[in-house]
Symmetry: C2
């Protein structure tokens, strides 16, 4: 655990719509209009780098990331899932898990690159299920992967 | 293992300067002028998604990713390390492992966003060690994490 800078926004707040919370990590949905199925797995303690976690914690956090990816694949059949741990702006360990589609505003560029096209109707209306259903499935899968006993 | 499309460039070639090769994965350096300490861990078989790997293979591949990150941190003291598995253009499982510095051309934006500033002298000249030394340290660390017996 690193000392948390007083300004760390992922220490101070959830950082998005809370989908699941356990003692060691939480899952939030980013509420991004371009990428409605954009989740983040956020480590509770203030750790900056992936290799700053103990091996068992890395394995455990990656199980949560994989559980989210698996739900996105099963429910949405995305063209690709994108995973990333960047943290240049907020150096508090969090994994982005993003369902990407060949029709989305940026595909095949990363979500951080320039948009390539307008999308209408809105992306959220093109998903194969509602965000409520998706959130519930993500929460259930992460609870199985990272239940309270672990 | 997914069927490899005939055009998959990571099935056909290393995809960069080869740093270490084992039977199940290889590590290459991307040779990017803006980000000289940019490595990729590439799964040998054609698998598109992270959750398409068996759990033991995920654990093993992530040990290689973590070993590369640890070498970058120890040798370069970067501002941040960025990790990502995207694959929108080349959907063959590979992890980007990139040392980022607050002086680099894109920081704090992701490497896939627009450049924010020119950098002179060239980024490679600002690293705390040569790329030959870095490559050797990466190869050694990955060999320990993913030795031929595993």
């Amino acid at each position: 655990m690193s000392p948390a800078p007083p300004s760390c926004e992922l220490c101070a707040q959830d950082g998005g719509r809370l989908v699941w919370r356990g003692p060691r990590l939480r899952v939030i949905r980013a509420e991004d209009v371009h990428f409605p199925a954009f989740y983040r797995v956020v480590w509770t303690e203030h750790v900056a780098e992936w290799s700053g976690l103990a091996p068992a914690d890395r394995a455990w956090m990656m199980e949560a990331v994989t559980a989210v990816e698996s739900v996105l694949r099963a429910h949405l059949r995305p063209t690709k899932v994108n995973l990333a741990s960047l943290g240049n702006v907020v150096p508090h360990l969090h994994w982005h898990v993003i369902a990407r589609f060949d029709w989305d505003s940026h595909f095949p560029a990363p979500v951080w690159a320039a948009a390539q096209r307008p999308v209408a109707p809105p992306a959220v209306e093109r998903l194969a299920c509602s965000l409520d259903v998706l959130d519930a499935a993500v929460a259930q899968a992460v609870a199985v992967a990272c239940g309270p006993e672990r």
